[in-house]
């Protein structure tokens, strides 16, 4: 059994180490009608900008006098530094720093629009060397975090709203609602948990988010679902930490520090469009920061740090466009573009026009003759490209207001091959059942998926009730990694490798019992319920290109017999909805009531006991009857002695 499991995990590791995300991995090719899109890399030396929370210093301002300082000998030690002045030396041939920005706009079939920003900063340096301190384009705050905490990879996302895969297709950067953070540490770190705790606290300050609430009760170490995306073959999951905060609410205070990490800030380039009043008035908003080491050249002799900052937004047709199927940059972001970031080596806008390459359904204005094809999410897509580095893009008005108009409502969306949903079943406040449904919509191929569930300890999973069924039959997972929870210490972690048969729904159910918390453990609004983070489904999905069996397309026959190896599968990650579970909630004024009641009972019992013990009983003369007393009174009045 153990050997079997080990073999499975080895297979898995090999699968996932092969699969780097190829999201928006734009391999630009020449389109028949288009021109060549050339990405020229300007050799520039650039920098990064910074966030700041320090209050302004009050103080006296004094001019600096360079008094009896004699820098004579110091200067003579570097005679060439003076001679450098006034020399316009041509920049270094190979830039150590590179910044690129791009915006992909995808019109969705529902009439909504999806805008995905990516900003990539490259910094050529040895990532194993921790002593780095001179920052140019790379932001100093993140650089310090990486070097101080020996981070190898860092992925953090802040998301508001839920990505509706069935309506919108796959996103370029999937993210669960709330906050997700996963970090690979360098293998030199000895106290991973302590470093993780400090790191979350520092990140919480940098991004103004409640990441400091990440502790051992919501952190897991997935064994297979999250593999490093950068270079390096460290796959020992002792150095991995994964946590989600599904309840986290994302707003302006998270966006502002995020924008400060960009070299141009929000002053120039595509980031001008990121205005929070429009960005947060949308159906879905997700911002992320990904840091990883990547190869700088083909032979991987040199490495660089890559910082990818992404923002993904879906604007709702009814809310933002008054129900019309017509979009413009101004309508989406209430800004137009006037310039590229001068520090960027490439600054482009891509509009996905795959559905109407000749402009049958979509009309773009101003029109652009630049076309580009890229394989994204297993599908070959065609994009119109606007290159902001070229003055001609902005036209006579010196501003670009891209307009996208639908001509007709026709066209069907291809159902996404993989999607998932999740809900809680059951009644009452004692037991419940988590149902996870995974849909494989591929017509003829089955493929494996890795399901990761991280459930808080206060839902006590009964793992013996775990069932996996597809098409009414039991579907035995080929790999199960289960780590039971410990109360108040760590959550449940359940990872399974499940084969999804073609055109099927696979249902994973597991029962749980709701724990009664201590009264200080309840959140401020306990009747709202408790969130359980999204489950993560990582998979190599057969690509749509490979699924295409239509031989009538204008493709050379020699290329179409065997499915293309590179494009046959693509890696994707699907997040389900977070769950909202009600836990038995006590009346919170109860402790005081109980104290009062108990005290009263004790006091009453004690009082009578005390009375019994201390009271002394005396025999008292029985008092005379009423008639006798009245008679006595009368006798007294008469002067006769009483009876």
């Amino acid at each position: 059994m153990a050997a079997h499991r080990r073999r499975c995990s080895v297979v898995l590791l090999s699968i996932f180490s092969l699969s780097l995300i190829n999201v928006a991995h734009s391999q630009e090719t020449t389109a028949p009608a288009g021109q060549y899109v050339s990405a020229s890399v300007d050799p520039q030396t650039e920098t990064a900008e910074k966030k700041a929370e320090q209050p302004a210093a009050e103080g006296r301002w004094e001019e600096t006098e360079v008094g009896n300082m004699d820098l004579g000998d110091a200067a003579t030690e570097t005679p060439d530094s003076l001679s450098h002045e006034n020399v316009f030396s041509p920049s270094v041939s190979e830039p150590k720093h590179d910044f690129r920005e791009e915006l992909v706009i995808r019109p969705l079939h529902s009439g909504d629009i999806y805008a995905s920003f990516q900003f990539r900063t490259l910094w050529k340096t040895n990532f194993r060397e921790n002593k780095v301190s001179h920052y140019r384009l790379f932001p100093k705050s993140l650089g310090q975090v990486i070097s101080k905490f020996s981070v190898r990879e860092l992925h953090i996302s802040f998301t508001q709203g839920y990505w509706r895969t069935m309506q919108w297709g796959q996103p370029y950067q999937p993210a669960p609602p709330g906050t997700e953070l996963w970090v690979w540490f360098q293998d030199s770190v000895t106290d991973v948990d302590g470093t993780w705790k400090k790191l979350t606290n520092v990140l919480s300050g940098i991004f103004c988010a409640s990441l400091n609430f990440i502790d051992s009760t919501n952190t897991v170490q997935p064994s297979a679902s999250f593999k490093p995306l950068g270079v390096g073959n460290a796959t020992d999951h002792r150095f991995l930490r994964y946590a989600t905060l599904p309840r986290e609410i994302v707003c302006t205070e998270n966006l502002t520090p995020w924008k400060k990490l960009l070299p141009c800030g929000s002053t120039a380039g595509l980031a001008v469009l990121l205005k929070s009043e429009k960005l947060f008035h949308s159906s879905f908003h997700s911002q992320a920061v990904h840091i990883r080491p990547i190869c700088h050249d083909w032979e991987c002799k040199a490495t660089s740090w890559e910082l990818r900052q992404t923002v993904n937004v879906v604007f709702d047709r009814h809310i933002s466009a008054q129900g019309k199927r017509e979009w413009s940059l101004f309508k989406m972001f209430s800004r137009t573009l006037t310039e590229a970031c001068p520090l960027a080596s490439s600054s482009k806008i891509y509009v996905d026009i795959t559905d109407s390459p000749q402009g049958e359904q979509l009309e773009l204005s101003p029109p652009t003759s630049l076309l580009s094809q890229a394989v994204a999410l297993g599908d070959r897509r065609t994009f119109s490209v606007y290159d902001l580095k070229q003055q001609s893009t902005f036209g006579m008005t010196h501003s670009l207001n891209l307009l996208i108009r639908w001509k007709s409502n026709e066209g069907d969306m291809l159902r996404p091959l993989l999607h998932a949903e999740r809900y809680v079943a059951g009644y009452g406040l004692h037991m419940g059942e988590i149902h996870t449904l995974m849909y494989n919509n591929h017509p003829y191929r089955s493929f494996p998926v890795l399901l990761l569930e991280s459930v808080p300890w206060y839902l006590r999973l009964y793992i013996h009730t775990l069932t996996v069924t597809s098409k009414g039959k039991d579907n035995k997972p080929s790999y199960i990694h289960y780590q039971p929870s410990k109360d108040r210490v760590r959550p449940h972690l359940l990872e399974m490798l499940i084969q999804l048969p073609p055109i099927s729904v696979t249902e994973v159910t597991v029962q749980f019992e709701r724990a009664l918390l201590k009264w200080t453990e309840y959140t401020p609004d306990p009747n709202h319920g408790f969130y359980v983070g999204s489950s993560v489904i990582s998979s190599l999905v057969p690509s749509i290109v490979a699924m295409d069996t239509n031989m009538t397309q204008e493709r050379p026959l020699f290329s179409s017999f065997f499915p293309n190896k590179e494009e046959s599968t693509y890696f994707t990650r699907v997040y389900t909805e977070p769950l909202l579970v009600n836990l038995p909630t006590p009346d919170f004024s109860m402790p005081y009531n109980v104290i009062c009641l108990t005290c009263t009972v004790v006091a009453v019992g004690y009082g009578s006991l005390y009375n019994l013990l201390t009271r002394s009983f005396q025999v008292e003369e029985p008092s005379p009857g009423l008639a006798k007393r009245i008679a006595n009174v009368i006798r007294k009045m008469r002067g006769v002695p009483p009876l």
Binding site: E62, E65, N68, V87, S89, H134, Y135, L137, G265, C596
Partner: protein, 574 residues
């Protein structure tokens, strides 16, 4: 019959009495159980854990008596003392100087002065052509340790010093002092020594601790009476003592479309800043980083001055310059040490050149200013580098020698390396490549040791006071441990200062400082700080009131009965 009736009454009375007695005993024993068992039990279970603190030692520390001892060696060169005088030269002398700062704090400065005549080698060294060369060769002759000083008294006729210079202060720990003319000095040794003493003291004031330095270092403990404006500004300029400092160089480029700036910050730091920091390593840990900020604007719109066709920033508007920039500088995520910011601002093409004017409306030659306990800003104009035909963007290489010269001067000021103007007749040797003379480091170490001790004692005494006042605070063992180690380090530091071991004194004072800060800011101290009494009583009253009232009442009753009986007995006796 009568007898029988009497017996019955008697027995009834007896029963009555014994019944009363039993009730009283029951009430008393219940009260006893409550007092002996209940109260201690309640006390034990609701007690907060408070570890033992060395309160008496802390109280002793609140009255700070420091003694600073410095070893001074006075060497007479040939020709300064006559052979007869030489024989009578005392071996050692001790000069004490009292300095009472306030009723709790008083200092004693002690100089242990040793006299001797120069050795042959030293004579050779003193015969060098220049003072600097003599200083260097004297240094190679004897290794001087931290805090000690050597003063070489050279004859009036010596050609080492220029005519108008009487004292030369070297780069190490030595000074050359020109003895006055024979007439002024007088013939006897006593006259000579009394003549030398004030001048030696003057030298020591410059090269070692001085009253003003120490008073400034004690500012945490003693509220300085508002003296003159200048000295307050001086004392407030430098950063407070801290175990480490973060130095951040930022290049501000508000106009990346016109200027492509290149600065060799790695080389600049290596060449100019690192030697100074290596020298300062015993004081604190330093870490350096740099960044480039684009589109970073100053908060003030510079005024165009048509007379010089340049933009100007006035001294009074400098206070507003930094605030918008500071929002972008970024706090230090990785440590909580104070940050020294050094900004290099390259004005945009439209606002070049930009000059800073001082209060006298004069252009500041360095075009830089600094802000106390914050950092410095330098404005670097590049418009003269454009050349005749300019096409934007322009590639500009920044001259690090020019920039780092200014930043180094600011860094020295902000770290508290005092460059007070020496008294007339003094000549101070120019800085070495390290940017810091040995005696300057010593001076800094003296004042930092005193400052650390002062801060640590204040922290520890106020922590002890706080814990004493608020009984609800839990004192864990680790806090008690920190407090004890802070107290021990403090005592050691004071002792080492007294013994004149400056290096150890600084080391212990740093330990005391960090231990006291750790103890003071320990999060466990905050736990039960705010547990209001009224809520406690609200919980206790429902239980305690109904239980205590009967006990108290019956006790009262027993008391009154007892008193009654005693009174009766007295009446009967009477």
């Amino acid at each position: 019959m009568v007898h029988k009736l009497c017996l019955k009454t008697f027995s009834l009375l007896f029963v009555c009495l014994s019944e009363r007695r039993r009730g009283q005993i029951a009430a008393l024993s219940i009260a006893a159980v409550v007092i002996i068992v209940g109260v201690p039990l309640w006390w034990r279970t609701t007690e907060t854990y408070r570890a033992w603190l060395p309160v008496s030692q802390i109280n002793a520390l609140s009255n700070l008596q420091l003694q600073l001892s410095a070893d001074v060696e006075v060497v007479f060169a040939r020709g300064t003392v006559t052979p007869e005088q030489q024989k009578k030269v005392p071996v050692t002398q001790t000069w004490d100087e009292k300095h009472a700062v306030n009723e709790d704090t008083s200092l004693n400065y002690r100089y242990e002065v040793k006299y001797r005549t120069a050795t042959v080698m030293e004579e050779d060294a003193l015969n060098q052509p220049t003072a600097a060369a003599a200083d260097l060769s004297l240094h190679t002759l004897s290794e001087s340790w931290c805090g000690s000083l050597g003063v070489y008294v050279i004859p009036e006729s010596s050609s080492l010093l220029p005519e108008d210079v009487d004292v030369y202060i070297g780069q190490r720990r030595t000074a050359l002092l020109r003895i006055g003319s024979q007439v002024k000095v007088g013939r006897t040794l006593e006259q000579l020594l009394t003549h030398l003493k004030p001048r030696l003291k003057q030298v020591l004031q410059v090269m070692s601790f001085s009253r003003t330095d120490i008073t400034a270092a004690l500012s945490d403990r003693v509220r300085v009476s508002p003296g003159n404006q200048e000295s307050i500004a001086d004392s407030m300029r430098a950063f407070k003592s801290s175990p480490g400092y973060e130095i951040t160089f930022s290049l501000l480029n508000p106009d990346p479309k016109s200027h492509r700036l290149h600065w060799d910050i790695e080389g600049g730091v290596e060449t100019y800043i690192q030697p100074l920091l290596t020298k300062l390593a015993p004081l604190a840990n330093f870490s350096i980083d740099s960044q480039i900020l684009y589109y970073a604007m100053l908060g003030v719109n510079p005024r165009f001055d048509s007379s010089s066709s340049a933009y100007t920033l006035n001294a009074d508007s400098l206070a507003h310059v930094i605030n918008p920039v500071e929002a972008r500088l970024g706090s230090n995520a990785a440590s909580s040490n104070p940050v020294l910011n050094f900004l290099l601002y390259v004005p945009d093409a439209q606002h070049s050149p930009l000059h800073i004017h001082n209060y006298n409306k004069q252009e500041v030659p360095t075009n830089a200013f600094h802000s106390p306990r914050w950092g410095g800003i330098m404005i670097y104009n590049v418009d003269d580098l454009y050349g005749p035909e300019v096409t934007f963007p322009v590639d500009i290489d920044i001259s690090m020698a020019r920039v780092m010269g200014v930043f180094l001067a600011q860094l020295r000021l902000l770290l508290g390396v005092q460059s007070s103007t020496p008294p007339p007749g003094f000549m101070v040797a120019p800085c070495s490549s390290a940017g810091l003379a040995d005696w300057e480091l010593d001076r800094l170490m003296w004042s930092r040791s005193v400052e650390n001790i002062a801060t640590a004692t204040t922290t520890i005494t106020s922590l002890a006071q706080l814990l004493d006042q608020i009984g609800n605070i839990v004192i864990n063992d680790n806090i008690a441990e920190q407090v004890s180690s802070a107290v021990t380090s403090l005592q050691l530091a004071v002792a080492e200062l007294e013994a004149g071991n400056l290096g150890f004194a600084l080391q212990y004072s740093k330990e005391a400082f960090s231990a006291s800060e750790r103890a003071f800011f320990d999060p466990s101290l905050l736990h039960l700080l705010y547990f209001p009494d009224d809520q406690k009583f609200a919980i206790y009253i429902p239980l305690f009131l109904p239980m205590c009232v009967p006990i108290l009442l019956s006790l009262l009753k027993i008391l009154t009965e007892l008193r009654q009986r005693r009174r009766d007995k007295k009446a009967k006796n009477a």
